[in-house]
Symmetry: C2
Subunit: 238 residues, 2 copies
DNA sequence: CACAAAAATATGTCTAGACATATGAAGTGT
DNA sequence: ACACTTCATATGTCTAGACATATTTTTGTG
């Protein structure tokens, strides 16, 4: 028969998308993995293939999946958010510069009130606090001041963030469900100026970003860009 | 019969969306107008209703259309871009402040090289150049420095932009097909400082925005925010 | 082995039909 | 006037089937 619809509270395609998203976020299906094809998922979820197709297309739009004809559907490696979290290395290398980075500070530390409020964690909770500088052709490109929640990042303890790049490692290994972004401008303080090679008081574009997954807040970071840097995007039509 | 597909170069839903978009941008269907229902459009375009539905949902996602059950589909009044062009008045009033604005300068003027390059127009072309200050509770909130292309904005000559708000008028009356956004930080120069009530040299968040429609560039604007202002968004999951 | 042709396969898209649901409009009673 | 009910209607969503298309895999050939 055609056109049977249960009066379920949530649309079926939405429910399928939610379940697939859950499997990705909970690592049941990992980065780069091929997931079952639409026909199999249609059987599993007792739905028409068109419904599964719709669900998977939604997830592809959100950046969770990469889909190609004949090649199948894979869990995305890069996360295409609207304001995508840029992997700094790629940004630098795309500009034709040689990338390098240096971790300036790395320690466990109780969080101050401001960070606690932003992460909705109790003040004094101990998180990983790190600062790093990213360079293009040896010149400072951006500095990051980051708080990391190990509880939300399984596998973090195995990574030497002093050597690897926190930004990069997180983007590649930690899907997030929600992100807050805020741009502002700040006059460079002495530390900013020193690390970025800017003048004291110079205007810096600052980006605050906080991400969450189902386990709680993942990380919050303050990124300050080299003076004169632009962050641009293309607006959707409307 | 089921499942007939012509091997057209462009997907049918895409083509329908493009045609509806064209009718909106060219004012055949105007803001707030009710457009024909899915069944009628399906007949007109010789497509299944599901295909028309897909096309219209795409346009609703892009912010061109507002759709409601039983009430039908209307051309959207507000333009929900990803980084929506905020109507400053709404921003201010939502913060519980009284809105006002003042046009500081308004004249026809040949465009300098930088603006010409940004708009892809010949240098020296004469456009409308205006500067305005937006206030919340009487205190400067943002300043805008805008170039307007009358050729791309039919009806502009009838509007007294000295009284009405260019930002608001454009958002409400001029659909755009494409927008570029770029954030940067600048130290306030003397004029910025005076108009915004900031200190000379203070870091300002600056947003450059340029929009186009099928007639060409509509407007490019530099918006400088009051010191300490944040522009935030919610990232999509991914 | 190199390379081209053919087969296989997963996603992309469309169609026709059906039922679900929200809500505007009209009618009804108080 | 006002609240309440009923009805009509446009969109929302799903199903099953079919063909289209991009790629990968396999097979055939020099």
């Amino acid at each position: 028969m055609t056109g049977k619809r249960s009066g379920s509270a949530v649309a079926k395609a939405q429910a399928i998308a939610a379940e697939v998203r859950r499997r990705i976020v909970e690592r049941q299906w990992r980065h780069g993995d091929r997931i079952p094809d639409e026909a199999d998922l249609a059987i599993e979820f007792d739905a028409a293939r068109a419904t599964v197709n719709k669900a998977l297309q939604m997830l592809a739009d959100e950046g969770f999946l990469d889909r190609r004809r004949r090649a199948g559907t894979r869990v995305a490696i890069h996360h295409k958010a609207v304001f995508a979290i840029p992997v700094v290395r790629e940004q630098v290398e795309q500009a034709g510069m040689a990338y390098s980075h240096r971790v300036v500070a790395y320690r466990q530390s109780p969080i101050p009130a401001e960070i606690a409020a932003r992460l909705a964690l109790p003040e004094g909770e101990v998180l990983v606090h790190m600062r790093a500088v990213h360079y293009g052709d040896g010149r400072p490109f951006q500095i990051e001041d980051r708080w990391l929640n190990p509880q939300a990042v399984p596998g973090l303890e195995k990574v030497d963030l002093g050597r690897f790049n926190a930004n990069e490692w997180l983007v590649l290994n930690t899907p997030y469900l929600h992100a807050d972004l805020a741009f502002s401008a700040e006059n460079a303080d002495r530390r900013d100026a020193r690390l970025l090679g800017a003048r004291h008081g110079e205007a810096l574009l600052v980006l605050h970003r906080t991400t969450w997954n189902d386990l709680g807040p993942i990380t919050t970071v303050r990124v300050a860009f080299h003076p004169g840097h632009f962050v641009s995007t293309e607006g959707r039509s409307g």
